[in-house]
């Protein structure tokens, strides 16, 4: 039966469960087996939560049998990036050796909301240590080892939600929760050929999630399709008194745009500068598909130091969030050698410069909204290249070794974006396409991404050798 349910989208699995043609317990067993058997191959898993999963699956099965169906995630297995607090003795490690035995006595709000929706937590998934906030330069920056890409085992799965990307791509879970401060959902989604949704800042409660940067951190889903991401977001979105940045804006995911809807897409001038040739070619082909469902026009943002704005905020807040770890010298226990000292440099950030970055963020947010207002979405390559080799140094806008205006603006201004696969590169690894919208326009970017996926089949292709 495993062959029949692995790589089946959440929406379809939900239908089968609702119709009682698929047992949540049997489904959980299949994915638990894959997590235990294949997870180590990709360094994708920190903890398989078998006991909790089977308890939740049995409860789901009983409730559905009794006619109490909770919705499309009822009985669906998932994995959570290991920066979300979980109760019941399940460790929450933040991917970092100094915290590998740490246990919380409560569930993060996102975990609790997914439990309310009936989803089944099967694993805590691997991640770059401290979500990459200490300046790592290489894939081997987690105590669980480098995230291995299911498409090629000499390639990185991306960061920092490495396990969330690889676990979905390898069929170890139907969906996963990741987090993004700058790139940590879109990067592994793009590298692993799955869909990833970065919600608007404030859409999803961060309560119980590791804080890297209070004003940049977002939680969001990775799944096989943009449609599935919408289903998951519906379950985890909403105001939470425990996270004062959350807002009371209802989110409802519609599986398809209204018939005949036309989209207006924008492309930032120079958005493919620095991209690999195959990325540019695949993006050009994607624009051809998008012209079937709308218009595409070039747009421009004013000349501002976008990467510097978001980078300065990230470095300053991360240095403060991990002040104890840094000042005590406990960062010596991290895996990547550069993570053990780079953060000391952040004492060089002056308060005045951090505040200037925050003030410029306001300008950036207004300019981005001005450009986005007449559009349904800005589109761009999700990543400038195929996944890096495990043995290579990772180019990163966060460290300033690459430029990422879409990421700097999108994260700095807290805007939603969804990435979906749009082809293969020269090494046979996935490339991706991102749709970024105005604040709170997740329904719009998801509708656009769903429309794109309805005309392409890249999301139906999966890595070989996953038995």
């Amino acid at each position: 039966m495993a062959e029949e349910v692995v790589f089946v989208p959440v929406r379809r699995l939900g239908d089968l469960i609702r119709e009682r043609r698929l047992s949540p317990v049997a489904l959980a067993e299949i994915f638990l087996d894959r997590l235990e058997r294949l997870g180590p191959r990709y360094n994708a898993v920190v903890t398989v939560t078998r006991a909790r999963a089977l308890e939740q699956a049995r409860r789901a099965e009983a409730e559905i049998a009794a006619g109490r169906y909770r919705g499309p995630l009822h009985g669906i297995p998932y994995g959570a990036k290991d920066l979300l607090a979980t109760s019941g003795g399940i460790p929450t490690t933040w991917g970092a050796a100094p915290f590998k035995d740490r246990v919380f006595d409560f569930d993060a709000t996102a975990i609790r909301k997914l439990e309310t929706a009936g989803a089944v937590l099967c694993a805590k998934l691997a991640m770059v240590e401290l979500a990459g906030g200490m300046g790592y330069r290489q894939p081997n920056a987690a105590f669980t080892g480098p995230g291995v890409n299911p498409w090629s085992r000499d390639a990185w799965s991306g960061g920092s939600s490495s396990g969330s990307g690889s676990a979905v791509a390898a069929g170890l879970v139907p969906f996963a929760i990741g987090s993004e401060t700058w790139g940590s959902i879109l990067s592994p989604a793009g590298n692993c050929g799955v869909a990833g949704l970065r919600p608007t800042y404030g859409r999803v409660s961060r309560h119980g999630a590791m804080a890297l940067c209070w004003t940049l951190d977002k939680l969001g889903p990775l799944a096989l399709t943009a449609d599935d991401c919408g289903l998951v977001l519906e379950a985890i979105a909403g105001r939470d008194p425990a996270d004062p940045t959350t807002v009371d804006r209802p989110f409802r995911h519609e599986p398809a745009a209204p018939a005949g809807q036309r989209f207006r897409f924008g492309v930032l001038r120079g958005t493919t500068d620095g991209c690999e040739e195959a990325v540019r070619e695949n993006f050009a082909r994607s624009l051809g598909v998008l012209r079937e469902i709308g218009t595409v026009e070039e747009v421009a943002l004013p000349d501002l130091p976008y990467d510097d704005i978001t980078r300065t905020i990230l470095f300053a807040e991360a240095a403060s969030a991990f002040e104890d770890l840094i000042e005590s010298g406990a960062i010596r226990g991290l895996t990547a050698p550069e993570d053990r000292y780079t953060a000391y440099a952040r004492d060089a950030i002056l308060a005045k410069d951090y505040l200037k970055a925050l003030r410029l963020r306001g300008v950036m947010a207004r300019e981005a909204d001005r450009v986005l207002a007449p559009l349904h979405a800005l589109v761009a390559p999700g990543r400038p290249s195929e996944a890096a080799l495990l043995a290579s140094e990772v180019r990163s806008a966060i460290r300033g070794t690459a430029r990422d205006v879409m990421g700097a603006v999108g994260n700095g201004a807290g805007l939603p974006a969804v990435a979906v696969p749009n082809g293969l590169g020269a090494r046979g690894l996935p490339t991706s396409l991102q749709f970024m919208g105005r604040a709170w326009e997740e329904p719009t970017v998801l509708a656009a991404a769903c429309a794109y996926q309805s005309r392409t089949d890249w999301h139906e292709r999966h890595p070989a050798d996953l038995s």
């Binding site: 004013p302 130091p305 440099a345 925050l358 003030r359």
Partner: protein, 82 residues
Amino acid sequence: MSEPEAIRAPESIRPPAAIHPEVETMLALVRERYGGRLAPEELEGVRTAIEGIVQAAHALRAVRLTNADEPGQPFAAYRADP
């Protein structure tokens, strides 16, 4: 907010070509605070990171803002219920 072109600083206050003195000053601060725990090659890594931070700071300082341009994430007064 003024038009994009207007918020750019004139060339005269753009980042200076050489950031070396500021980097060395900041590196001295880090060396003073943490030097005892940093190997020479690690201190070089810190220097590289400081160069990036100082370059970013110069880029930020080069943009002029008005008195009305507040941080994008304003503080909110707190009062516990009720």
